[in-house]
Symmetry: none
Subunit: 220 residues, 4 copies
DNA sequence: AATGAATGAGGATTCATTCAT
DNA sequence: TATGAATGAATCCTCATTCAT
């Protein structure tokens, strides 16, 4: 917490970078991305605006950094969860996967805006770094999935994770509309549009997993 | 096509409204939402900027109108497809569902920006109209699904469609990243991140459908 | 009230003109000039926007017409009042003058915006008409003042009225600030800035009248 | 005059603020308020548009700042003038008051638009600051008036100044109509509407002062 | 490394007025 | 005479980013 005034060595720099990301995360949990200004992030971090740019090349790079942190964090939690399972089934895996995501609204928000964020102001270097990280995490998580659940055809782990990841993104978008729409969704006659996020996610993921495991045999 | 200079009656007005939406759609297929200006839409429509505001209260309302058109269009196509099926299975339904979406990049783009569009400048009335329309379409499509595929437990049609819809949104986002990322994804060592959209969508949807049909019996 | 749908003869036209002015007056008593749109005036008058322009060349001309009506009305009331006085003195005249203005917030509002209104979009013809009317009214009122109050040097009636008129404009501006400032003025520690409009106006007018009557003798 | 490129310390900032106000004042003496754009002010100040907003929250705040400067300036000049008088009378005071205002067209313009300026975009804080300043100046000037002219009943100084101030505003409005009307007023047959501003102001102020001094005794 | 003043591009929206019907 | 759809000029303000200090 108590950061030196000047980050002289690399360790200090990393700590400051992390502190900025934390503040950005807090802000994002309160306001929409478009409503967050670099001035706010700077103020929350106790830094001057210009200083942010010593740590991140752009606003987009900053939030991409936050997404990377969240992704690494989540993949780690996911691996831990599925590795610790006493017994394994599509049902249980779906539940674990869902549970690992439930408490991560930040990750959901970030993934939803990923397109918008990167659509402007793309730093190729940062983009590559991001994709590389995502690929590595996916490989690792896919590998872990295959090893704990041998039913899954070899080599389909990463692809399966990717589909689950896609489902998560989409379902989150459907389940948590912007505040203005939320009021409308709360109406009785809109019940068809409401989603019990955790439950529906777990169930859908189970279905995807089940399908992935039996795809070849029961394909036709 | 040849619109009168002044839309005096209701029919002319609807035609003009539709013409504006078409031009907006064309623009959206070429540029990101944030890059499209009302001036461009007006110019493409051969109208003055102010005239657009006679037909749509805001830029957001305009694109929300486009999304509504696309949704209605898609749901209609979907209903037609699944009703016309000679035989029905999760596999076939998933393929039809996927096929009905494949040629609709606009719908995907619009759904992805739905959050961003409505996060500012929400006209409660328009929001309600949108959600009502979505609910009605969902009901109808859900009903159609149940009737052609009796395996599906009664009353779960809309929910099933909603999950498939969510998967579509998420998978599209994963499959079609912003152009800058697309270059990176094309690299050989990024193959794990690449998605064969149609195929993966069809397969995943089949899995969701299969799960939805057997959810109760094989839940545990 | 019941205007024909089409104003065919001149009488009908004048009636419609007057009706429009009345609606404009009502609107002005509720909203600031800048907040009133021609669309509102049209709607309040039960007419189409374009129709307004058959009666007034511009928004400014419309409100200038309203000011003319108010001025004529006020000058008539003023003449009546001072002619009806049983006895005459600076004190009494000031009171009558003040009383004649007190219930005319519209007149005050219009005079205050006269500059702004006419600063753009001046129709020379309308401007001349307005000034001619003002001059005539001033002459007449000045003459009436001189005749009921012989103490006033001959020929100084119009000029005296003009000064009183100026004081009214200025004091009204000071006494009735915009709503936002009104709240602040209500504070105890702002009492020096508050004005008891009627009382202060009557007193100041009395002073101007007294001075006008004794200007020559005690000038030096 | 030669401002640094960047105003780092408070002194530099005040200087820049003052420079902006000066340029705004120059523009206002040439064009109507509504015709002045922030872009013009920025260009005249040799600054970027955005920079103006570092110094003033809005266009309105900027011109309110200018009004404050003019008011402070004028009140100071007024106090100096009346304090320096060798002998004191309503006549002389009226002349001094008038003379102190004569060369301040900016002050007149600003006071006339005060309503319009503040009717939109009111920053409550700025409004309070303005009114507080006005009150303080009024108190001080009122006190000075009472002390140099003991004929004035104790405690009526501020009120008297306020009335004179009101007369100034109103007479200025009457005396200096918009350019379009000025042409008409120049005609021979409009002489009743013409005002010799300095002379009439001095005379009227003298009358107000005389009345204020003798109000109690010779009220009736 | 840190600051924060300066930049300036960028765009939606309003509304008085016109004119085809 | 009445309509109201079409016009299009007109402009304030935000905020990511830079760079002099």
């Amino acid at each position: 917490m108590a950061l030196r005034q000047r980050a002289r060595n690399d360790e200090d720099k990393q700590a400051r970078r992390a502190a900025i990301l934390s503040e950005a995360g807090t802000l994002l949990s309160e306001h929409a991305y478009g409503r967050i200004t670099m001035a706010q992030v700077a103020a929350a971090s106790g830094l001057a605006k210009g200083t942010l740019y010593l740590y991140f090349r752009s606003k987009e790079a900053l939030f991409l950094g936050l997404l990377q942190r969240e992704l690494v964090d989540w993949f780690a939690a996911l691996r831990e969860r599925i590795t610790a399972l006493p017994s394994v089934s599509a049902e249980l895996l779906g539940r674990e996967f869902s549970a690992s995501l439930e408490r991560r609204p930040l990750l959901g928000d970030l993934l939803v805006i990923l397109h918008t964020i990167l659509e402007r102001n793309v730093d190729p270097e940062a983009a590559l770094e991001f994709k590389t990280l995502l690929r590595d995490q996916l490989r690792e998580a896919g590998g872990a999935l295959e090893s704990v659940w041998p039913v899954l055809p070899e080599g389909t782990g990463p692809r399966t994770i990717l589909r689950m990841y896609a489902l998560f993104i989409g379902l989150r978008q459907v389940a948590f509309p912007s505040p203005a729409l939320a009021d409308i969704l709360a109406r009785e006659d809109m019940h068809e549009l409401r989603v019990d996020f955790s439950h529906d996610l777990a169930e859908s993921l189970r279905d995807l997993l089940h399908g992935a495991a039996h795809s070849l045999g029961g394909g036709a």
